[in-house]
Each structure stands twice: as structure tokens, then as C-alpha cells.
Amino acid sequence: MEEYLTRLGDGKPIRQTKKQIYDDLNEGTKNMAEKAKVPELTSGDLEYIAEIIMAPTRIVSVKPGNEVVMTHDVGPLKIMADQSNSGVNVPCSREQAMSIYERIIASDSAELGHIDYSFKPVKPIVSQEQSVLQNVLQMTTLPIFYGAMPNLGLYYAPDGPFPEPIALIRNRKMEDAKAAMNGAAERFIEDILYMTTRLYAVGLDALNIDTTAAAGDPDFWAVLHGTEKLKKECPELCIEMGMSGEFILGFHGELKYNNVRLAGLWPHQQVKLAEKAGADIFGPVVNTKPGKSFAFNIARATTAVKECVKVSKIPIHVNMGMGVGGIPMFETPPIDAVTRANKTMIEVAGVDGV
């Protein structure tokens, strides 16, 4: 029986028969449909994805006419950064890195960010970021995003002024924990406003809020309110809200936005709140399961994202970095898997960008 080269979610090469691929596709779509309460992929979808997986070439691509916009998390920073930013350590300035993204990678957009890629640490050096941004805006043609993470964990002790809420929860100090989470969220909103208004003042096109909700529902609450406030202060700013996980972890459990409880929301529900807050682009995340096959993972991810695309009024740029969107959780994701995941998300889920 013929076997096809494919991957596990951790990048390991495996061989599967057509039946095994179909079984895993079915298992993946059912898994997500059940968890997120969304429709399973159609049999036509699954057949198309199976053909993509079984394609004999190393690299696959979309059909002409189906190309989408690429936006980036971290992006040009990868050129000079170290391993912790998935970087390749080529010495160059951030301005040069942006030019490389424009003229060598031929990307559709580029993102400026700091090595310490969170809003809180960058706040004290905002003038440096403004200066570099001014240079970049004058030496690029691409739309330029400024990217950073909310990283609400930095607002908790020992890095920040608020006590660590999980420790408080473990000690049964529930109200203190909620107060800490609320305090951190409010402080983040101040910081994102501080940073972004200053970057906007020197001509920033767009903001990318990366890994939204990494610290659970207080993090998502903070980003939604921050986005809402930013849209008032910076009305011409495009805001891309990129998520960190497939559903919102409930650390607080009672936080709501627009009367909707945030804990437990899946991508097709998250995007509606992002829209309400004023986000212009939404980046859903579906986590790759390292022990499961590529077929399982891509079917699972596509099921969630397809529904997100269907209900959204704003462009969907699915997160397809390491370990998300069907991409293997491996430092150098194999390009056979990357291109297959890319084609699937574009032609089956119907995303507006990657």
C-alpha cells in the first residue's frame, strides 16, 4: 500500500497511507468541531486537504489568483536576533532588516519591533523606537506595523507592581487575585496608549498586538479595552490583534466585554469582540499538537479558522508561525509542512492573509 511522506506535529517525518491520512483528517476536524462547537469540514474540504498532503512535491503553493497578504510577528527582527526570537543572528540594523524584508523577501508588509518584544519594557525607550520608526518610514515603501506583546505577566511580581495572581488563587485569596489581574490590565492599557500615541505621532501606519490573551482573560480584556481607546486617540491607525492560544484561558473567569464572558472563547467568538473593539485585522491561533500527525493538526486548525473567516467582517490573518495554524512545533519548521499548511488555510479556510 502506498505511503506518503508527512510529519508529526513536532516536525518528525513519518509515512502514512491514504486511509491513515483520511482517518487523521476526520479525527482532527471532529476534535475541533466538538470543542469549539463549530461545523466540521465538508467531505470536499477533507478530500482537497488529503490531496495537498499526498502531493508528490516537497513544496506546494496556491493556485494563481489565490495569493494573500502576508503580515508578520517579529518579522525583520529575526534577521539579527538570537534563537529566543527565532532569529538567525545576521548582524544588521533594524532599518536594514526592514529593507531586506521589502526588497529581498518581497513581503507585503513589514513589522518593526524591539528585541525585548513587549510593551512594558519598551515604554522607557519609546524615543528610541520613535527615531528608528521615523528612519524606517522614510526608507521603505511597504506598510509598516509596530509589533509588541501585552505580556501581562510582566505586570506581576517580581517584574511588576501587582502580586502574582495564580499564587494568590492557590492561597484561596480570590478577590486579591482578581484585583491584581484588574490592576495589571489597567496598567497595560496605560502603557499601550503611551507607546502607541507616540509612535502614531511620527507617522506609524499600523500596530500589531501579538500574543493577545497569553495571560488569560484579563489579558484579552486589557487588549480589547486598549484597542477601543487607541481607536479614539489614533483614528487612522490600523490595529492587528493577534492571539496567543486557541481559546481564552480563564484565570479570572468573570471578566466580560460587551456583555460576553471572555474565558473560554474560541476564534469565531474572539473575532466578534475584536471587531467590536475596533480591530482592523484579526489573527486567530490554533495550537499544534506535537504528538499528532500533520493531517490531524491541519484539519483541526482549518475547522476553527474556517468558521472564524465566515463570521468575521474584518480580514483574518491566521497565525502560522512555529507551533500554530498546523505548522509543526519545531524551531526550523519543515517547508513541506509549511507550504501545505499555507495552501490549506488559504484555499480551504479562505483566510485573507497569513
Binding site: P64, V68, M70, K78, G203, P315, V338
Partner: protein, 105 residues
Amino acid sequence: MGMPIAHGIAGGIGGIRTAGDLVARCEMTKMRLKDAKKYVANKLGIDVSCIADEFTMRKLREDLDICTITGVPNVARHLEAKSRIADILGIKIRSVDHLKLKMKV
């Protein structure tokens, strides 16, 4: 870097090599992909199928003076190109408006 390059080749429009930056700017105003492509095609006077086509776009970008990916002397680039892109697409580009502010235009 292999991953973003692989993504770009597999499914990206192609940036300033084609019309990727232009479609991106339209998506940034909340336009969905199909609408953004149609809008750009309409403004450039081309068929939607040519949006990611190097054969069409290389010459068109030079003719419209909106930056080419190769370094052609005297073809608009960067802020020059962005000011022309803003006019052609009928959109606001903040760094262009910022320059006009500085020039008191």
C-alpha cells in the same frame, strides 16, 4: 527565516514585486481580500488576475512611479512612492501626511 520565505512563495502576493503592498494597505482599512484585490485592480486599471503577476506589475509599477523592487534610478521609492500610492489608491498613508505636515503643504 525559511518559514516566512516558504509562506511567501507558497501563498504571498509578492510585496513590491507585484501589488502585495497595495492590497495590504487596503486590507488595513478593513477590506476583505477579494474586495481589496478588486479595489486595487480597479485603481490600477488591470484585471484582478494580474495583482500577483510580475509580468504585468513590474512595468506598471515603473509606469505609475510607485517603486520597483529592483533599484531603478529616478523611479520613486519610499516616501516618494508612498505619496503616489496614496494618490492613486485614494487612501491615507500616515507617513505621507506627516511629511506634508512638516512641509506645511
